[in-house]
């Protein structure tokens, strides 16, 4: 009797694990099988030529996604450029300097930040951040890549702070003690010893934050302006891969070339996030640089 329950539980748990794999395989299969008609019709090269994405063109439709890849890259890199230093600094403070009550106070706030719906952030970007950016840079419109990067950076912060704090906390106490015993100040200990020792964990935190940033859709859709032209700078409007899918999937004719072309965009997005998450995973499981 006991062993049968054991067996059933074992199978249930195993099945749950396998289900995740099946979901992933299923998603990949759907993306691939729906991409193939477009790849056949348009040719894989046409997606990566310098040109525009114009499936509903007045004349001949074109399907280049280069500008969207650049747009996605700009928003993501821009977001990480301020979210990583800020996130790591906040994590170092929480892990090393903050008193217990400060930690109790700030950690829930970080979690609340993670829970803000992206559409709310997008709205704030449109109404508050866009006029601020326009005034600060003296440009006509603040609906641009910078706006998206700032908001996405804010969204990636909780991921980065939480994971980086875990990584810093996991650094053995002996390191700090040794540094302090040698006369290092607290700042020197954090900057020269603790943070470098947690480097692989911090990099993984940044990568997972990046995975979050690449796929973020709603906020970016609302504040970046979604221009199809090639952006010249961060003050230009951009369209990201995910925003493009969200914009167009609503009115595309089921089964048309355009429909399948959107799956190609999804496939490219999937491959990019997959690589980023894979790298993060490898870094998380890497052995610490310094052994006891």
């Amino acid at each position: 009797m006991h062993s049968r329950t054991e067996l059933i539980m074992k199978i249930l748990f195993w099945a749950s694990g396998i289900a995740i794999i099946l979901f992933l395989v299923g998603i990949l299969f759907t993306l691939l099988s729906n991409s193939i008609p477009a790849l056949g019709e348009i040719g894989i090269g046409s997606f990566f030529t310098s040109g525009l994405w114009r499936p509903g063109a007045y004349g001949e439709p074109t399907y280049s996604i280069n500008n969207f890849i650049l747009g996605t890259f700009m928003v993501t890199v821009g977001a990480l450029a301020f979210a990583v230093p800020m996130g790591v600094a906040a994590a170092a403070y929480l892990a090393e300097i903050a008193s217990p009550w400060e930690r109790e106070f700030f950690k829930p706030i970080v979690e609340v930040l993670a829970g803000i719906p992206s559409v709310v952030l997008g709205f704030i970007g449109l109404v508050v951040l866009a006029p601020l950016i326009a005034r600060f840079f003296n440009i006509p419109s603040g609906i641009n890549a910078l706006n998206g990067a700032i908001l996405v950076g804010i969204m990636a912060l909780p991921t980065i702070i939480t994971l980086a704090e875990d990584a810093i906390t996991a650094v053995p106490k002996e390191y700090r003690h040794a540094s302090l015993a040698l006369g290092g100040t607290q700042w020197q200990t954090i900057w020269k010893v603790t943070v470098p020792a947690a480097f692989s964990g911090i990099t993984a935190a940044a990568m997972l934050g990046m995975g979050r940033a690449i796929g973020e859709t709603m906020t970016v859709l609302m504040v970046t302006g979604n221009m199809i032209a090639r952006p010249e700078s961060f003050l230009d409007s951009v369209r990201t891969l995910s925003a493009n899918i969200a914009i167009e999937i609503g009115d595309v004719a089921f089964g048309s070339v355009h429909f399948h072309a959107l799956f190609v965009v999804g496939l490219v997005l999937f491959i990019i996030t997959f690589i980023v998450n894979l790298l993060a995973d490898i870094l998380i499981h890497r052995k610490p640089e310094v052994n006891k």
Binding site: I18, P55, G56, G59, P140, G142, I228, S237, I247
Partner: protein, 318 residues
Amino acid sequence: MNQKRWLTLLGLVVMVSIMLVAGCGSEVATDEAPDAEADNGGIEEDVAAETSSIMIAGSDSEVNLVTRLAEEYMNANPNVSIAVTGGGSGVGISSLIDGDVDIANSSRPMKDEEIDALKANQGEDVYAVRFAVDGVAVVINENNPVSELTVDQIGAIYRGEITNWSAVGGEDLEITLYGRQSTSGTYVFFMEKVVQADYSPEMRNLAGTSDIVEAVTGDVGGIGYAAIGYATKDGIKAINVKADDNASAYDPTVLENVTSGNYALTRPLYQYVSGKPSSAILEFFLFEVSEEGQNIVLDEGFYPITAADLDFNKDALE
């Protein structure tokens, strides 16, 4: 051990088949939905001969207005049931060709090949009714001194050929283009009526009309387009539009300019049926173009039909 292996294999097979069935199931469901509803209509007609049901599908711009018209009509005529769905003008027309719906809502005229397809499929001629007029205002920041433009100039601005307000009599100020996304009927209407080519790739594609209003409010050099009802908001103003160089400019926020047809950026909203409308459908059309129906049209933010539209309707309604 052997038994365990079998069970795991069984579990795997069950899960894969559940996934497959779920996948297929949902596809079948979406494919058959219109048929199923049409069947229901048939059954209702059999049970109570006096109850007639009308299926309407098509344009998303029209769906709210037609739903409202249908509700008011059903309140007065409880023996008629009308179901209205959206999906886009193209969806409505292809459903009409396939015989899945009774009326197709369309914010564009039917194409010749669609009329031919309907004739081939249903053996009937197509009849059309214009029941409302939709207008688009071109809006700019209230601090921009420009007050009137020709349709050609607006087109050139949106094609990216004119990039500075000084070229159209304004200040030396760069133009920022704001437009809707391709999901929008207004996007298509504006492209075909005004731009007559591809939009400039520099145009910002915003998610909704209020986003455009918000953006133009904060951007002195901005230009956008929106339903006329939005053009009276604070911070923006509607451009008075001239049909060509010699015509006079008309302000879209003045009702007479739109109803008289003098304002250039309007489009009639159509409903298509296969075969000359009769009984319940004809009654519904007559309600729509009646004074009561046209008041609802105004109430919903659209414009009443003009004398030319009434003339156009004669074919179907008389």
